[in-house]
Symmetry: C3
Subunit: 344 residues, 3 copies
């Protein structure tokens, strides 16, 4: 009887199945410091306790994307250990701030299954919820991955393809309790641009770029206790190179977006996300964003912007995304569709 986990294969999943993930994780100021050292992040709300308190929060929260990584990392052993590809995200919502000292756990429900035509794998849809030590949901999202079958001949569950929102409506966004941007200090935040200054259709080239290193992406991925082999073991990959965790690119893109979006203080939702091409150490990554939609919220002084942020390797033209056939350009790494909260 082997004691090591081989992970789940496609034929192991059933719609409605609930996966309670290990290991609970207390998030601390230490994690924030490592995160700051890993990404050029500077959003004031996640950098300064007094700034966050002036915006109605208890103290400076952990960045939403960092909380997402913690929860995502827990799902890897149960959902994607035998994944061929991480296909997409939908209906991601940040429901409550995560503060240093909070302990996160995660649970996923299988909401869809479809075998691929060659019968060697199948697509698994899960809805994952992250909770704090009081059992309160702090974030939830859907993800679908292509997972290998242990045995191509194995019988599988009936096909269920869930209906997922293309994007969350502004009315479905959760503004953290107490958050307000009345009296917001634009000087301390770094840029003067407010909600009214952003127009739907506007595009922003974030200008800065960063060349990524092996040690960095492994530090990041381990910080979230995500132990997928492909990120750590050069012998595990045919090409002999470690594949960089897609979440590392999300964090880089979010941090680079400060230059032009410094007031996008809170990520409220992830509508969709695609890891368009693999990323490797040595790549130099830049980012651009487009404003897809905008909306007011009920919170004082708080507006919402729906953004597309694209991360791409140096050499890819700014604002370029797909080729004539509709395929992502080879230099495009990430295409992320999300909502942020900004001062009005």
């Amino acid at each position: 009887m082997t004691k090591t986990r081989a992970g789940n294969f496609f034929e192991d999943y059933r719609v409605g199945q609930v996966l309670r993930h290990a290991v609970p994780r207390t998030v601390t100021e230490g994690d924030r410091a490592v995160y700051t050292a890993l990404y050029p992040t500077r959003f004031a709300l996640a950098s300064s306790d007094p700034f966050a308190q002036a915006c109605g929060l208890l103290r400076s929260p952990i960045e939403e994307i960092a909380a997402f990584h913690v929860v995502f990392g827990k799902t890897v052993p149960d959902v994607s250990l035998n994944a061929i590809a991480n296909l997409g995200y939908a209906e991601g919502r940040f429901l409550r701030p995560v503060y240093p000292g909070d302990t996160l756990t995660a649970e996923s429900e299988v909401i869809g299954l479809r075998e691929t035509s060659n019968r060697r794998s199948g697509v698994v849809w899960v809805r994952t919820v992250g909770r704090n030590q009081r059992g309160e949901a702090v974030l939830s999202y859907c993800r679908w991955v292509m997972v290998r079958k242990r045995d191509p001949e194995a019988a599988v569950a009936e096909t269920v393809v869930p209906t997922l929102a293309g994007a969350l409506a502004a009315a479905d966004l959760v503004v953290p309790a107490g958050l307000h941007f009345t009296g917001y200090d634009f000087g301390l935040a770094g840029e003067p641009w407010r909600w009214g200054d952003y127009a739907v259709g506007e595009k922003i080239d974030h200008v800065d770029r960063v060349t990524v290193e092996e040690a960095e992406h492994m530090l990041a991925t381990r910080l979230w206790q995500n132990t997928a082999k492909v990120h750590f073991d050069v012998t595990a990959r045919e090409e002999g190179r470690r594949l960089i965790y897609g979440g590392h690119v999300i964090s880089i893109a979010r941090a680079l977006s400060f230059n032009g979006l410094a007031n996008a203080q809170v990520v409220a939702a992830i509508n969709a996300g695609a890891h368009a091409n693999p990323c490797h150490a040595g790549d130099t990554i830049g980012a651009w964003s487009a404003v897809l939609d905008k909306s007011e919220t009920a919170a004082p002084g708080v507006g919402a912007l729906r953004l597309r942020t694209v991360a791409a390797k140096a050499g890819t033209s700014a604002f370029a995304l797909r080729d004539a056939a509709g395929k992502y350009l080879p230099g495009v790494l990430l295409d992320l569709d999300y909502w942020v909260l900004v001062p009005c």
Copy 2:
């Protein structure tokens, strides 16, 4: 009069001599975060305050191996600055949990000395004790190293070879005060295996591997304020490569062992340890374990397993250890014999 330390040479030691090591170190949540980023560690007790509290502890302790590194690092300037080789460990015991906020100091007593036959060096045995800010011993261990002589002609102290236990008896293990594994949550911990599921003689291949980087082992070694030149300065080594601190490999092996030993929550003792071959950046490291012994303890629901965990480079067969002549295989990096506490 030079102000820099040249460290002690073999002829400087006397049996009974007490070395009070600099520098006291307050261990924090920051250290835990860096440790988590450096190793793929996921043991629930050292990851989550509520999990640790449910097991009877005040909060989540710093991993025992991390506390060991802090204490070990302090001994380097006085014990091993002029070491040729770190020969072994014995009678290592973890006596009390180390919590964030505790401040550690270290003291060593010379317990043995034996000049080598060529008179150019000698073996020094020390017993080191690490203490917290209240003066309570948190860990102790014996270590012996081969240390250069300043002057081959120098007179040395009489040979004393200490008698050290080959392994600690289960009865000598210290279970942290209050620790119990009644009501232990195997789901949150990540694996269902309890004390009764492990058999003496059983072997576990931990499957996962990690390719190590220069930046990582230097970050780790500095975190413990271990400033032995060989780990940092390429010009200090004939082969022009930095030698990776043996403790970095111990932490990698312990973290990799999660896969099959997720419930080995506490390291209670180190019986013996050998750094079998040097480790360098670029090496891809895996690990396997064997169960050497098992015992009950007086604490509720707490059992003890004596394990051998071996770290080896990729390409070394699983469970392979020595050649026909009894010599460690060239790919074997670490052979560690230790006791862990697991739920019954």
Copy 3:
């Protein structure tokens, strides 16, 4: 209307102009841990709460140089985004300890301007003050940088060259309130040398060296939210290599100086500093110091030493600094003139 910052150009500055820098930053134990992992730092006051309390402080302060990096990082977007060279520092004073939990902000006043003769750039002098969450100044310093003009033809402000002190007088040093070195524990600190043991003119070779990595200097530079392109983006530099942030070399030199200056617990002032040559990953860095001056202070048991610490690449002779023409030797990276506080 572009939303990204192009930074200020020389013609944008006016003497008397006040630049209020973004983003406030709460400094924590996490930052200390990352700092410790990045540098081989071991000064007892910044390592141990009980040691700091025995010296009259509230707890262990963040290292002065780390606080300097936080403040410096904030000035980059407003002062040196279009800099050609960082020319010098003067009148740097540490005015109050920074403790974990403090939030730092920064403000600079333009105190000098001089166009270069080719009219393509100019030298900008600023005096920067860092403050904590109570508005108390924690440090201040002058810096001058050569900044590009947007348009060589643009009119510029009248030339003003400020008069700056070559070195702070000992009487101008601020000793942290409550600090005393009566009852100082030299054993725990790591060396027996006190103020009286250091002679003006004395030189110390710090012996240890460290080979630096790309991941390390980028982690360091981001930790201070310093996002100057040249440190991160290989495509931003003609030579295709990332330039290491000069502050990284300052921290390495300060940490290496422990070996011979372990009791230099507090940096009280920076009189002058030159980044003599560029530093790149792969360089192996050592350091030496000379005692330039010494003075008593009014605080019990606290003396002051004025030091020159020089960081140089391996292969540069110890204590070598300039060639016959007075130019820094090509291996010299840093020439730092500063005051430290040591026990009498």
